[in-house]
């Protein structure tokens, strides 16, 4: 017998019975006999035979190929230790950071990345003993260090929501606040704007997406929120013009 006890996008808590029968249990669920239960607080997703729960909280689990933001926590002889918000510390080796061969005896690695620097890197490897290897090769501006901006963190599972369908959400925030935003898959977000007020506004919008990620019609609400605040900023004389964005009708129907 095949039965589903919940609807897609239902809010569930650990130990909620989701389904019974020959379903595949995806992330955020576990199987006991032929029943599938939720293991986290999150939203139900049903895709054919696959049932999973998208968590609303939880740590970042690294996956090879993810682009992440990280913070240098230690400079060692031939590598850097990097905090990427995962349960494990990541490491970036010298040969994964610079193109040319360098003499370790003569070079001070702190001149490349120093403790406290924020870098933009790709996860190159994640193995059985939970070592995370990063690379900054091929990344924009050689991975950083990023300067002149602020770091905000959101729940990693909400990154797809912040990006939106085809980048709709993040592009909206970027365009309206005229800031540069880099979103790491680990939920770390770099925001840098020419104007402090606009930078602050962009951060507010990002945190609003994080907080309200489980609600409907979020893109429209963010647009409304930003336009309203931008008008106020214009009246205060902080900005000259409220940026206009061309209306696109396909921005609705967002799923994640």
């Amino acid at each position: 017998m095949k039965r589903i006890f919940v609807k897609p996008r239902d809010l569930v808590v650990p130990g909620t019975l989701l389904a019974q029968g020959p379903f595949k249990n995806g992330r955020g669920t576990f199987r006991e006999g032929n029943r599938i239960y939720s293991t986290v607080v999150g939203l139900v997703e049903v895709r054919g035979d696959l049932i999973r729960v998208i968590p609303l909280e939880g740590p970042y689990m690294p996956e090879v190929g993810d682009n992440v933001l990280g913070k240098i926590v230690d400079v060692r002889f031939s590598n850097w230790a990097v905090d990427i918000g995962a349960p494990y510390e990541a490491s970036l080796r010298v040969q994964d950071a610079v193109e040319e061969r360098i003499d370790l005896m003569k070079t001070d690695l702190r001149k490349i990345f120093d403790i406290g620097d924020i870098i933009y890197a790709k996860i190159k490897g994640y193995n059985e003993i939970n070592q995370i290897d990063l690379t900054t090769k091929g990344m924009p501006f050689h991975g950083g260090p990023l300067r002149g901006g602020q770091l905000v963190t959101i729940t990693p599972s909400k990154v797809p929501r912040l990006i939106g369908k085809g980048g709709s959400m993040i592009n909206l925030i970027k365009k309206l606040t005229n800031t540069r935003i880099i979103v790491g898959q680990n939920g770390w977000v770099w925001v840098s704007g020419k104007n402090d007020e606009l930078e602050k506004l962009a951060i507010e919008a990002i945190l609003k997406v994080d907080r309200e990620s489980h609600t409907q019609g979020l893109t429209d609400r963010i647009k409304e929120f930003l336009t309203e605040r931008l008008r106020a900023l214009k009246e205060e004389g902080v900005i000259d013009e409220v940026p206009q964005i061309e209306e696109k009708s396909d921005e609705k129907g967002e799923v994640e």
């Binding site: 809010l11 808590v13 130990g15 986290v40 607080v41 909280e57 740590p59 689990m61 309200e212």
Partner: protein
């Protein structure tokens, strides 16, 4: 045992010292996500008990010999604030709180799926701000909420409640006076989905029949607590959804 003269734990009408009936829980209030800097947190008011729980992790641990290559470990600290009881409590861990930390760890561990995070630890801090008997069950209830709020994968929430014997009768959820001057106290923690008992202790004396009755009663109480836990977890997000809907 130094019982104040004329104190009756159950009066002629069958009411207890705080006016409750025999099988009535104290009023319980739960809130999730109260601490900004913790990965997960919860605040529980259970009668006059006030308890704060915070969860950090999973995170890498040192010293390295504590790491387990096949799973994450759980560490629990139960602590009573010096001002939590009438007579100032000397701060820091003592025999009692070390034991309670240990049994709470045992009560929570079966619910957690920590094999997904080898070599890490999940740290749970339970701070008793105000105590009025039954802090360990309230602590377990709060810690379980905080763990769910931290996104640590769990088989089920852990709910807990105590039952006991006062003036010869088995009653639910003892308060301070009932605990001090009563005959027995039985705290129980369960995972309600499969009725697994994860903590079972007894203080004082009960006959075998009384013990079974007390455990059954405590399980019933824990199931009521479980419903409140589920509501509290959903409440955090439903409140935001409502607020958003209200603005439109």
């Amino acid at each position: 045992m130094g019982r104040p003269e004329g104190l009756k734990l159950i009066d002629e009408n069958g009411r207890r010292v705080d006016g409750r009936k025999k099988y009535e829980l104290r009023p319980i209030k739960m809130e999730v996500g109260v601490l900004k800097n913790a990965d997960g947190s919860a605040y529980v008011e259970w009668g006059k008990n006030k308890i704060l729980a915070a969860v950090y992790g999973p995170r890498e641990i040192h010293p390295k010999h504590l790491q387990r290559p096949d799973r994450g470990i759980l560490r629990v600290r139960y602590n009573m604030a010096p001002f939590s009881v009438e007579e100032r409590k000397k701060p820091g861990p003592d025999r009692r709180s070390v034991e309670i930390s240990k049994v709470i760890r045992g009560a929570l561990e079966p619910a957690l799926l920590l094999d997904a995070f080898p070599r890490t630890a999940v740290d749970v801090f339970i701070e008793v701000l105000q105590a009025d008997a039954g802090t360990r069950v309230a602590g377990i209830t709060a810690a379980s909420l905080a763990l769910a709020d931290a996104g640590v994968p769990m088989r089920d929430l852990v709910a807990a409640c105590a039952a006991g014997k006062i003036d010869g009768e088995i009653v639910l959820d003892l308060n301070k006076d009932e605990d001090n001057y009563g005959e027995s106290d039985v705290p129980v923690a369960i995972m309600p989905l499969k009725n697994d008992i994860t903590l079972l202790q007894m203080d004082g004396y009960l006959t075998r029949e009384e013990f079974v009755e007390a455990v059954k009663l405590a399980i019933k109480g824990a199931k009521a607590v479980y419903q409140k836990q589920r509501e509290a977890l959903r409440e955090k997000y439903l409140r935001i959804a409502e607020e958003v809907a209200g603005n439109e």
